[in-house]
Point group: C2
Chain length 294, copies 2
């Protein structure tokens, strides 16, 4: 029984007769193999990566498990089509808060076609990719049973200035996001989601150490997903904060150089998260002191 | 008594009636203030940086000391012109080996003019900036009293692939560079120049830690100079390996974001230097084992 993934926040989406990924009940995610180079390139990456003995386990856990390819009925009704069979990353999650962050100030590889380069360059310049080294590609923030999810229009997230990106990353780990989005986020779950020895920051730093060293792959235009369960955080339990890397249609070989483009964006993201952890109420206390409360 | 700097390896150079920097005997370096935005921007940077109390001393030492501006006779005979007065970085050096490395895979700031952006982007794509995150802008390697300096054509250094850049960075710290440039470099001084607690790698890592944190400036199109005295190394003395940052005509404000573009290139450079330290004879032993020597 295939269905449309309930928690996809970016990328092509199935539904309304469109082609997009599907999930089954056994925890597998079926991603249509794009007909052009992108499809064959992503398959090439998964095939190489999943059999690469030089990937340490503490790094491979950041990637979806790859189960090969399979012909299944495409979501757009166009018949049997080849799909990548991957781990469904939302398995076991009830009401996940998810943000999709497209990494790198440059989303194109040097050897891409001129047309593709110009298209990407234009988008990188129009969005926050160029100034920030990454852009928010999509987000859903769980509020509570009544409010459900806050899931803003994807394009509205892509070109925010630094201060607003920081605000979104604060809202992402706040308890007061559902009722009034103009409220200063309280960052109630910053310490438990972003912080701690197994939190998001630790995971990003683990990934950074690998990127400072590995010269096997350059990950153009791929995304980091950050996920956690606000429900668990509200109950005082470990919210299961987790990062995953996805979307490998533009991965190329490293050729004796580290992926400085991805790494630069990763360091920038790490700085945002670190600052939120260090001064979660920075803006609030500024307001308070202006009001004479402090 | 102003004269042409004897050890300049990149940038505009005085001589033959051209406009370029001059030095005096008291250790000052006079850089003509470029007439356009670049001149005023570089002056703005030096003025801001030299009075910025948030720059720790272990970082400010990587920058030339700034002594203000002065009207002096320009090197091209065009009369009195305003010059930046800076520390002459070659003071006290006898036969310095120097490499000038232009940092960042992108040498243009987002707000530059469209014409300038297109010019830089073209050059970044044609050189090793895009793939490597930096490009070699100029180099001089001291051989010995007889051979003098190896100082290849600057443009020949800018678009080398990773393996050749690595070879140049090996030659830079080798004793056998002067006689036969086709010889595998012996990396005789790698440990004393690149390695050690005060060596080049340590300095680069110190700089990296600052770039992971600082959000004051973004250093587009600036260079890292690496310098040392081979003569001292040959005598078994400390070769005085030193890095300096120069050329700030395209520095802009950080606006709440780290300089991920410079940082990415810096991490890439650090990886090259680390690899040379870890496996200085990598290529040689490969050759040896092919020849059955090992």
């Amino acid at each position: 029984m295939l269905k449309i993934p309930p928690h996809q926040v970016a990328g092509h989406q199935a539904g309304n007769g469109k082609l997009g990924p599907l999930v089954d009940e056994s925890g597998r995610f079926y991603k249509p193999l794009q007909g052009d180079e992108r499809g064959s390139n992503e398959l090439k990456f998964y095939t190489s990566f999943s059999s690469n003995s030089r990937i340490p386990e503490h790094i491979s856990k950041f990637f979806p498990t790859f189960y090969g390819t399979q012909l299944i009925e495409a979501s757009d009704g166009s018949g049997l089509k080849p799909h990548l069979v991957l781990e469904d990353l939302s398995v076991g999650r009830v009401n996940p808060s998810i943000v999709d962050i497209k990494m790198g100030s440059r989303t194109w590889a040097p050897e891409a076609s001129e047309e593709y380069i110009q298209k990407c360059l234009k988008k990188d310049r129009e969005t926050s990719s160029l100034p920030l080294g990454f852009r928010l590609s999509g987000i859903q923030i769980y509020g509570n049973r009544e409010s459900g999810y806050w899931k803003p229009e994807r394009t509205s997230m892509q070109n925010l200035p630094a201060e607003e990106v920081k605000l979104i990353l604060k809202k992402f780990v706040s308890s007061n996001t559902s009722t009034d989005m103009d409220l200063q986020p309280d960052c109630a779950f910053a310490a438990t989601v972003y912080g701690g020895s197994t939190g998001i920051l630790s995971q990003l730093l683990e990934m950074k150490a690998w990127f400072e060293d590995q010269m096997m792959y350059h990950f153009y235009s791929c995304s980091i997903l950050i996920m956690f369960e606000k429900g668990l955080a509200l109950e005082g339990q470990n919210p299961g904060g987790q990062i995953k890397l996805i979307d490998f249609a533009h991965v190329i070989e490293g050729r004796g150089v580290i992926d400085h483009n991805f790494l630069g964006g990763l360091c920038s993201l790490i700085k945002f998260i670190s600052e939120i952890l260090t001064a979660p109420n920075e803006h609030k206390s500024l307001v308070s002191s202006v009001n004479g409360v402090n």
